[in-house]
């Protein structure tokens, strides 16, 4: 055997002890491998694409003796910035995780009891198909729900649901970034990227980018800020790692970011600092905006936000002075409040009026690259309407994604019609949705639940049948175009054969389709699918290139200003950037963002705020043995003044109680949070005993979060819960 080795100690050393030290990650790993690499007869390097978060960085897997020994960054993908983060490195332990689902299983005890019977694939398929057919026979195909999250093989799962005849495909965006996507789509007709590498002035509202998700654009931002190219203004009720690295941190009163943005717009227009030529050429509705923001003065905003008016004025001036290389950054974070769509709209409008569209250091429409498409036999459209009544309640939202929380309300009420079967792919609604008790009630009401996943998530734990999916390193997936400032076509190819009795999602879908009489719609192999995609890549010997390199990134150089031509039509109703939106008005929403003060917690309660940490992706990977080393448990941040009033000491166990549930957590008494808030991290307190490192460790925020959503997009609003905190 060769000397290449990656054990836990080395991993921790190589990836750095904190996410804040992520800049050193790639250097550590690369230098190790430069020294440690040695030739062995069976050593292979296989380019592929990481799956552990939505960024999809290009990676090179080092295989020895049939085992994945190491994952290296692939320098050929400019978007990956030649890095692979801690999660990316730890994907090895997704494959060699002793807790993995190793073969199909059918539940034999009560749901959630954890009693399983290992079965063959035929038995699992027969069982699920029989149950799905029974529900279809009794209630119609619309009585089945198909839940999934993003992933290269998600398309097959969604297609199975549609071919089955169900309109009820529900995806993750309304538990994630639907409010951002809708707000920018309504304004620009697209969701742009943010050129953090070249921006000189960045404002972030609660998007904790230095800590919550470490992706290549985090590195762009870290580079920008650390080298003092960019000024970072950060608004967050909590002193995060991003706050520590920012030039200015404002512990803004929760839920008032919209007031801050409207006041910035007020100052910029009042002082004639807007980009007049750009506004005249590319936008519509500016005059209405100017009138609309007259009352939103900095002095008014100070009372709402607790940010001094003089600072709002100065920031507005600095922001417009730095334009077009200034940004009000939109992501990555979910929706916190019920006005989140309008807050995002205000951000988009602020960006538009300083003319940072399609400019170096500004917002850049995503460039795409061509690829082919496999044409499969189309099915008849599902006949029933969606159970979430999206057309009635959220007419502007993305129909193909659905609206998760409204959907759950309707399923629980049985109206407009009953839903009795729930298929889930790669998602954990038990932790992703607020109010876990409601999700459990929804589970109780199902005649059948089937889950496809690599690991035994909490959702899988409550299923009737579990189909183990092969890990990404064990399978080949469809080719994807990663659109962006640095667009790339990426390919995920099998690195090692599955080590357990698992299958790629396509084969699981085909196994079910065969028994449901839907085989004609899935009559292809992954190789045929991928070959069709390779065929239209405009490079010689595309298939060979992609298999050898794993990525094609055209020139690798960004281009700016392609949409800044007189004949360019934005994909909006007017063809312009819509500052004022007729479409919003027609749908009964405010056509320009209107502010309303958020409800404040009563004296004996706190606003619960949430966050993520870059070691994990949402509720996933906290059970990964290498990542678990970084963080073993979550706790409750509480301000010393608040803690003193309640007699709570640092490290004490406290009950955190909302109107829907209660959890126990260790108190972290810290000045790094406002006295009116408490904070907990997402992703702990698992119910699945096959998440053994985090089973019943810490707590799941889903237990105490109340159901609330943004009015326009339907996006779950995660910071609208007030909790009591008492010594346990």
């Amino acid at each position: 055997m060769g000397t290449t080795r990656m054990d836990r100690r080395l991993f921790l050393k190589a990836t750095g002890a904190t996410a804040g030290a992520a800049a050193s990650i790639q250097v550590g790993c690369l230098s190790y491998f430069k020294k440690g690499r040695s030739a062995t007869a069976d050593r292979r390097e296989v380019p592929t694409t990481c799956e552990l978060c939505p960024n999809k960085c290009s990676a090179i897997a080092v295989v020895e003796g049939g085992l994945v020994k190491k994952l290296n960054p692939n320098p050929e993908n400019p978007k990956s910035r030649d890095m692979l983060c801690a999660r990316g490195n730890a994907a090895i332990k997704q494959v060699y995780d002793p807790d993995r689902i190793k073969q199909p299983m059918i539940r034999v005890g009560a749901r959630g009891e954890g009693k399983w019977k290992p079965v063959s694939w035929d038995e699992a398929f027969d069982f699920a198909a029989k149950k799905l057919a029974e529900v279809k026979e009794k209630h119609g195909p619309q009585a089945s729900l198909w839940s999934s999250t993003e992933g290269f093989q998600e398309v097959f799962f969604k297609n199975l649901g549609l071919a089955f005849g169900s309109p009820n495909i529900v995806r993750h965006p309304t538990l994630c970034l639907a409010s951002v996507n809708l707000a920018y789509s309504m304004t620009f007709g697209t969701v742009p990227s943010f050129d953090l590498l070249n921006s000189r002035y960045v404002i972030m509202s609660g998007a904790n980018r230095f800590e919550s998700i470490i992706t290549p654009d985090t590195m762009d931002l870290i580079g920008g800020v650390m080298e003092r190219k960019a000024k970072l203004i950060y608004l967050d009720p909590r002193f995060t790692v991003t706050a520590a690295k920012a030039d200015e941190w404002y512990p803004i009163k929760p839920g008032t970011d919209l007031a801050f943005i409207l006041a910035m717009i007020h100052v910029i227009i009042k002082e004639n600092r807007h980009s007049k030529d750009f506004i005249a050429a590319y936008t519509t509705g500016f005059d209405l905006l100017a009138e609309h923001v007259k009352s939103y003065t900095p002095e008014w905003a100070e009372k709402e936000t607790e940010i001094p008016a003089k600072d709002i004025i100065r920031i507005a001036r600095e922001f417009s002075d730095a334009a077009p290389r200034s940004l009000y950054y939109a992501g990555r974070r979910s929706s916190w409040y019920q006005n989140d769509f309008q807050m995002r709209r205000a951000q988009a409008i602020l960006n538009a009026i300083v003319g940072n569209w399609d400019q170096v250091g500004g917002m850049v429409p995503n460039a795409k690259l061509p690829k082919g498409e496999f044409l499969f036999m189309p099915w008849d459209e599902p006949k029933a309407p969606r159970v979430d009544e999206i057309d009635k309640h959220f007419p502007l939202a993305a129909k193909g994604d659905g609206v998760y929380l409204k959907l759950r309300e309707n399923v629980l009420s049985g109206k407009p019609y009953p839903v009795k079967a729930w298929m889930v792919y790669k998602q954990d609604p038990m932790n992703a949705m607020p109010d876990q008790a409601k999700t459990l009630k929804m589970i109780e009401g199902m005649d059948f639940i089937g889950v496809i996943d690599v690991a035994m998530s909490d959702m899988a734990w409550y299923a009737d049948v579990v189909f183990p999916e092969s890990a990404y390193l064990e399978r080949t997936d469809p080719v994807e175009v990663m659109a962006g400032i640095w667009p790339a076509v990426v390919y995920r190819q099998q690195v090692v054969k599955p080590i357990h009795d698992t299958k790629p999602n396509l084969e699981i879908v085909q196994g079910l389709a065969k028994r449901l009489g839907l085989s004609d719609y899935f009559d292809y192999t992954i190789e045929q699918w991928v070959d069709a995609e390779f065929k239209e890549l405009p490079i010689p010997m595309a298939a060979e290139h992609m298999k050898k390199h794993g990525v094609w990134a055209a020139s690798g150089q960004p281009s700016y200003g392609k949409t800044l031509t007189p004949d360019h039509r934005f994909v909006t109703k007017t063809g312009k950037i819509e500052i004022f939106s007729e479409r919003l008005k027609e749908a009964g929403h405010d056509p320009l963002p209107v502010y309303a003060s958020p409800e404040q917690p009563p004296a004996d309660r706190f606003r619960l705020i949430l966050g993520r940490v870059g070691y994990f992706t949402h509720a996933n990977h906290s059970n990964n043995v290498w990542l678990h080393e970084f963080m073993k448990e979550n706790d409750l941040w509480i301000n010393p003044k608040s803690a003193a009033k309640l007699g709570i000491l640092n490290g004490a166990i406290v009950d955190v109680t909302s109107s829907v549930g209660s959890v126990k957590l260790k108190a972290r008494v810290t000045e790094e949070i406002r006295p009116d808030c408490v904070f907990m991290l997402h992703g702990f307190g698992k119910k699945s005993k096959m998440q053994s490192l985090v089973y019943n460790v810490g707590a799941s925020d889903a237990v105490i979060l109340e159901t609330a959503w943004d009015k326009v997009s339907g996006n779950a609003a995660f910071h609208e819960t007030f909790v009591k905190v008492t010594n346990a």
Partner: protein, 106 residues
């Protein structure tokens, strides 16, 4: 009114907007890619066409006229009549002024 009838009425009412063009978006995409894109693609024998090539009103007008090759032939000589409705539905639904918010993945 019985619950079953109420449900059917509700389904009919809610389905109406989806079927405004009377065709299938899924099938329309298939026929558009299979038939139209065989010529109307980059490097193809005819000018590239995508749903974004026209506004919703322009697509509706195009299909109302029913002409292909600048009027040289009828559209239903290229696509079967039932396919024309599907392709129209797909193109109108994804036209350059259509409300089609972007999403994550998927």
């Amino acid at each position: 009114m019985s619950n079953t009838v109420k449900l059917l009425v509700l389904i009919a009412a809610l389905t109406l907007p989806l079927a405004a063009e009377g065709g299938s978006d899924t099938k329309g995409k298939f026929f558009f890619k299979k038939t139209c894109k065989s010529c109307h693609a980059p490097g193809g024998s005819a000018k590239e066409v995508t749903p974004l090539s026209k506004t919703q009103a322009q697509w509706k007008a195009y299909f109302a006229a029913g002409k292909h090759k600048k009027g040289a032939e009828k559209l239903d000589s290229v696509l079967k009549p039932e396919q024309v409705k599907d392709v129209q539905t797909f193109l109108v639904n994804h036209a350059s002024d259509s409300p089609q918010p972007e999403t994550c993945g998927g």
